[in-house]
């Protein structure tokens, strides 16, 4: 369960990913031996690993690590029956199960916990059905988001949710975190595309939720309850999704501003013009600086902030014309029509994730605020960065009010590490508090996982949390499904 006092208790290790391996898990108790044997008895040898290298790889996702635990084993399910066997075996032995897809999560939702096994669903990667007339697909959880999109594109269709990890992450993982992405303001988040789920419950039974049709209101919406529950209520083994139409046409606009405030005002101006872009990404000066450093570009010379907008569909050209006009009126330097550069910038933004999750002196967030608070919130972030003597860069899915601010520092020598990390985390905690005061949420799309439990109590009062704990108990009385995550 969450420890709400953890804000002050954050340790250097927890932030830096230098967590000591939990040695206890390396010494195997006889009952664990029995358990692993029983687990393996229902699987092929290639479906279970116990070597330390594999256990280590599968012990964490891309989220900050508080304490590394090696799982008792890693198992790869290749069928629904495999998952049922694994869950039943774990249930009998009360062994926690951490399910994962590609492990690209950034909140620690797939971090191994003490004495657990890690259940990888990456081998269940078949697109079972893709019906262009129904505009639906049925997939196993391990299907990569981009692969489903490639298959759908052959029919002029797309699977809309597009997290930055879309080339690596799985639909199952997207479902577990209710993943967002760049185009959700227009096309919705994962929950809005999921029609039905096959779920292996904590007792090993298989439950089918939802409906194959676009609409359906029979009974409680168990599908929506499962989406975003981070593997704590059941193991998703099948996903029926609605597909949408690949846009007829796409127009891309890059607008440079001399300050962030004007760029954020541009977001609201596009809204006031009642144009709904497919993508509306806001990049601050810190981000432009990083992109220049990485790619040798000269973005910073052209402005202090960049607003990247894509319109799509049959109205894309007309919408782009309105957007250009509105942004120019607001003082932006706007790229010309069909700008290859603008498209390249969107690609850079879309694929910038790799460089963002890989630094010990960088703490990132996923706050969403009401759209009208964008300017005020970023101004607060800038003041925090100054006060805590850290650097800041901000990328926002501006159409959603979803910001990914990152506080960071250049790598410093060991002697000052502790101080640096304290300052980074003080800025981070303050950003969360200010975001919440503005009516925001601690996580727009990444999920709570393990890492954000320390803030969840700031957003959700105890009765809401208690209700969620009781739902968890109802679904998983023994508490074996990804304990200590999400709620």
């Amino acid at each position: 369960m969450a420890d709400e006092t953890a804000i002050s208790g954050t340790t250097e290790e927890s932030i830096r990913g230098r967590a000591a391996v939990d040695k206890a898990s390396a010494v195997r108790a006889p009952e664990d031996r029995d358990f692993v044997e029983q687990l393996g008895s229902g699987l092929a040898p290639s479906q279970l690993a116990e070597d330390e290298a594999t256990l280590t790889v599968y012990s964490a996702d891309q989220g900050p690590l508080l304490e590394r635990h090696l799982p008792l084993a890693v198992v790869w399910a290749e069928s629904v029956q495999d998952v049922q066997h694994i869950v039943r075996t774990c249930s009998a032995h009360r062994v926690p199960i951490v399910a994962r897809g590609a492990g690209t999560g950034v909140s620690g939702g797939a971090h191994a916990t003490r004495g657990c096994i890690v259940l990888s669903l990456e081998r269940m990667d078949r697109i079972l059905d893709l019906n262009p007339d129904d505009e639906t697909a049925v997939v196993e959880p391990g299907v990569i988001n981009a692969e489903l999109n490639a298959a759908a594109a052959a029919h002029g269709l797309m699977y809309a949710p597009d997290p930055a990890s879309y080339k690596m992450s799985t639909i199952g993982g997207n479902v577990a975190t209710n993943a967002g992405g760049l185009r959700c303001a227009k096309y919705g988040v994962t929950r809005d595309s999921v029609l039905a789920l096959d779920v292996v419950m904590a007792d090993g039974s298989l439950l089918h939720t939802g409906h194959q049709t676009f609409k359906g209101v029979a009974g409680y919406d168990l599908t929506a309850l499962m989406v975003g529950s981070e593997g704590t209520l059941g193991i998703v083994v099948g996903v029926t999704v609605r597909l949408k139409y690949l846009p007829h046409e796409v127009h891309t606009i890059a607008a440079f501003y001399q300050d962030f405030r004007s760029a954020a005002a541009g977001v609201l101006a596009v809204g006031k013009a009642r144009v709904q872009p497919a993508i509306m990404e806001l990049l601050d000066n810190g981000t432009l600086e990083q992109l220049d450093a990485l790619h040798g570009s000269d973005l910073q010379k052209r402005g202090k902030s960049l607003l990247l907008i894509q319109t799509d569909g049959f109205g894309a050209a007309a919408e782009a014309a309105v957007v250009r006009q509105v942004l120019a009126d607001g003082g932006a330097t706007v790229t010309m029509e069909a700008s290859a550069e603008a498209e390249m910038l969107v690609e850079l933004r879309r694929n910038s994730r790799g460089v963002e999750v890989d630094d010990e002196f960088r703490v990132g967030e996923d706050i969403a605020v009401p759209r009208s608070k964008l300017v005020e919130f970023v101004a607060s972030l800038e003041a925090m960065a100054v006060r805590h003597r850290v650097r800041l860069k901000v990328v926002a899915h501006a159409g959603d009010g979803n910001l990914h601010p990152t506080f960071w520092m250049d790598r410093v020598d060991d002697a000052t590490d502790a101080d640096a990390l304290v300052r980074l985390n003080a800025a981070l905690d303050e950003s969360i508090q200010v975001g919440l005061e503005m009516g925001g949420t601690i996580t727009g799309e990444h999920g709570v996982g393990q890492y954000k439990l320390r803030w969840l109590g700031l957003e959700q009062p105890e009765p809401v949390r208690e209700l969620q704990r009781r739902i968890k108990e109802l679904f998983d009385p023994a508490g074996i499904l990804n304990p200590g995550k999400a709620i």
Copy 2:
């Protein structure tokens, strides 16, 4: 709880709305007297009624009535505190609460049950906030859908879900049933527009679910769980919704076909052209006949089926051009550009609800099937109508695969009533079974209420139903919130 044997047990009374008043409820027990006094003690005199005329009016919504029960009292809450007082009093006395908005539901979700009170939320009708920059609104549950839309339209915004009852029904009622409407295929159903809820729980406590932002994934999606739960998990007293942009431009196309099959093929052809209409309504010959009879029009002379399509947004004209071409290629007679007649037809369709819910010899449904099954399903319906010697008309939100077939008969003399009703219901039950066999659902947008409980077990297997019952128990241990509905 549902009685799955009810299919064969349907009585004449149940169908014809001639149900006898439950006399038991007219004789007031002393403990009921005490309860009503206590209920009234916290309310103004104008907030409670016990006269038989009022009790009768509030004893049912527009759904078929199985057995009429008069409530002990009708109370009108005017504040969240009122609702809390009412729920606490009912909780203390274990009196069931049937919450309702405008009572326009057609599944009996707001029918009074034995010994209940009816809690009307129609007086909680304030739009508390409408923020054009955030593109959100906060409303009390009694706000009429059309009034929220009127307020939003002043800012170039709209509240997207548009059930046929939109001029009468309340947002609270829309939330309770997860209402759909004409434009959901493009803009989503109620759930997709609801960001947060204030809910009075069964113990009288006030819970706030969700987030003020477009995106938010902290904890389980309690908001989605509440939406569509028909007042069985809590009483919704506040709703935060996302607004969308009023379309820049709307084009309307009417396409007449010589048979229903070709019209349904037109729906798929528009899909294949990857055009997403805002509205796509399919009307069969029976419906055209009815419209002609009501309005003196000559629709039947022009075709045996009508496909009504609206495209909207900046691409409306270009989309309409594609749609016209595709439909003409499929053999349709297509109206010219900017047809006033086509717009009039959409208005007729949109406001046709009044004539559909008001006949004792008419049984309507709300089945959704995968889009590709539209033709096959309607062919089956036609065969059923012939076999059971009843008449049929079908209107479909074709973009969603959501059909409203109606089996009906001309009014017959009393001697043959029983046989007529048996035939109508046999056709109805068969239509449900065939719809389910095609991968459909028993309710696309109306809700299960009380009336459709008899079919729920055909769609949802026992473990799914049992899980829902346990969720219900968790939220409402004493079972006072709209018992015998929804699940």
